[in-house]
Point group: C2
Chain length 206, copies 2
C-alpha cells in the first residue's frame, strides 16, 4: 500500500540517536515509520522514562505512534518517518477502505507489541528479558536474516532501558551470558556468538 | 454517539464472573463494552495468564478488545457488550466520519491503558500497585463518586492477577496497609477506610 501518496505527506529522514518528542500542543499527530528502528517511550509526570516498545521496519510502513500525551521516540538507526494530523488522517481515510483496513491492522500490531511488553515484564526475569531483547535486535528486519551470530550496537544503559531493569542488573545478566560463551561485550557493542542459544535463554519461542 | 444503531449490532448481557475467550477461528471481532467492568487478559503459549488492563464504563461505550490472538475477558461486574466482525466494522465506518473519529479516540484510550500498565510494572512496587489498583476499583465510574471510604469486592487471588504479583506478596502488602489503618480485609472483600491515604500510597496522581 502506497501510504505516502494516499496521505499526501512528505517523508522526513532522521539520523540514528535522534530524539523526537511527539507531544505537540494539540497532540494530534499520527506517526508512521517507513524504514529504520526506534524505541517508543513515555515520560511520566514524575520525569521517569518508560520504554513502551522497540519497533523496526524495512519496507512496509508501520504505525509508530499516535497522539498520546508524553510519548517520545529515540531512533536506534537512521530512519524515515512521516506525520499526519489525526483529523486529516481521518479525512484521508474517508473514501479509502484499504487505508482503513491498514489502520486497524496497524493498531492491532501495535497492541500486540504492548501486550508482549506487558507479558515480558510480568513473566520474565531480567536475564530472560536481556536474552529476548538481544535476539529481537539481532533479528530485526533491517539486519540480514538467518544467521547464527551477530554484533548488536547498543550500550548497557540503552539495553537497561529496553528491558526495564537497572544497569547493574543488566550488567550481571550480560556477564552470566558471557560466562556461558553465548556472547561477548565490548564498549558500545554486544557480539552474539550463538543466536540460537540466546533464543533458548529467552524462555519463549520468538 | 449511538454506537449500537450505527453498527446495527445486538447487545449481550453477561453476569459478573463470566469468562469470554475472544479468539474465534478467524479472530476477527471487535468488542465494545456498554456498561460494566472487565479484566482484559492474554493467554501465553506457555499457558500463563497475563492481565493487560482493567476497564470499566457507565454510559459511553468503550473499545474493550479487538481481534488479537489469545485475548480473553473476565467480567468483574454484570456487563453489557457488543461484538462486530472487523471487516463489517470497517464497512460500517465507510460513510461515517464520527464513527472513524470515535474509533481512533478509543484506540488511543486503550493504548493509554496499556502504557499505564507498562509504567506500573516498571516503576511501582507491589505495594504501590496494590494501592493504585484498589483506588481505581473504588473509584470506577459504576461506583458512587466523591467518597472517602469504600468496600471493594475482590479476592486476594484476583488482586494478585490485577497487579501482576504473587498471592503471598499481595497478602504482605495488604497486611502492611491494614497495620497502617488504611484498610481491612475480610473474605472476598477489602474495606478501604481512607481512599485518600491509599491514593498517597500509590505514589502517583490518579
Amino acid at each position: 500500500m502506497d501510504l505516502i501518496s494516499r496521505l499526501a505527506v512528505r517523508t522526513v529522514s532522521y539520523k540514528s540517536g535522534r530524539f523526537l518528542f511527539l507531544t505537540n500542543e494539540d497532540g494530534a499527530n499520527i506517526c508512521f515509520m517507513l524504514s529504520g528502528a526506534a524505541r517508543v517511550f513515555r515520560m511520566t509526570e514524575g520525569g521517569d522514562e518508560v520504554t513502551i516498545a522497540v519497533r523496526s521496519c524495512q519496507s512496509t510502513p508501520i504505525l509508530l505512534s499516535a497522539c498520546i500525551k508524553g510519548v517520545g521516540i529515540e531512533l536506534l538507526e537512521d530512519s524515515v518517518l512521516c506525520f499526519k494530523a489525526t483529523d486529516d488522517y481521518i479525512k484521508a481515510s474517508s473514501d479509502d477502505i484499504e487505508l482503513r483496513q491498514y489502520t486497524i491492522a496497524q493498531f492491532m500490531e501495535f497492541f500486540e507489541c504492548c501486550h508482549q511488553r506487558i507479558e515480558d515484564l510480568v513473566l520474565r526475569s531480567v536475564e530472560e528479558r536481556v536474552a529476548r531483547q538481544l535476539v529481537l535486535l539481532a533479528e530485526r528486519p533491517s539486519e540480514l536474516q538467518s544467521k547464527s551470530s551477530a554484533t548488536v550496537r547498543i550500550t548497557q544503559g540503552q539495553l537497561a532501558s529496553l528491558v526495564a531493569a537497572s544497569r547493574p542488573s543488566v550488567n550481571i545478566a550480560l556477564r552470566k551470558l558471557q560466562q556461558r560463551g553465548i556472547l561477548t561485550t565490548t564498549s558500545g557493542f554486544i557480539k552474539i556468538a550463538s543466536i540460537d542459544k540466546l533464543r533458548n535463554m529467552s524462555a519463549v519461542s520468538l
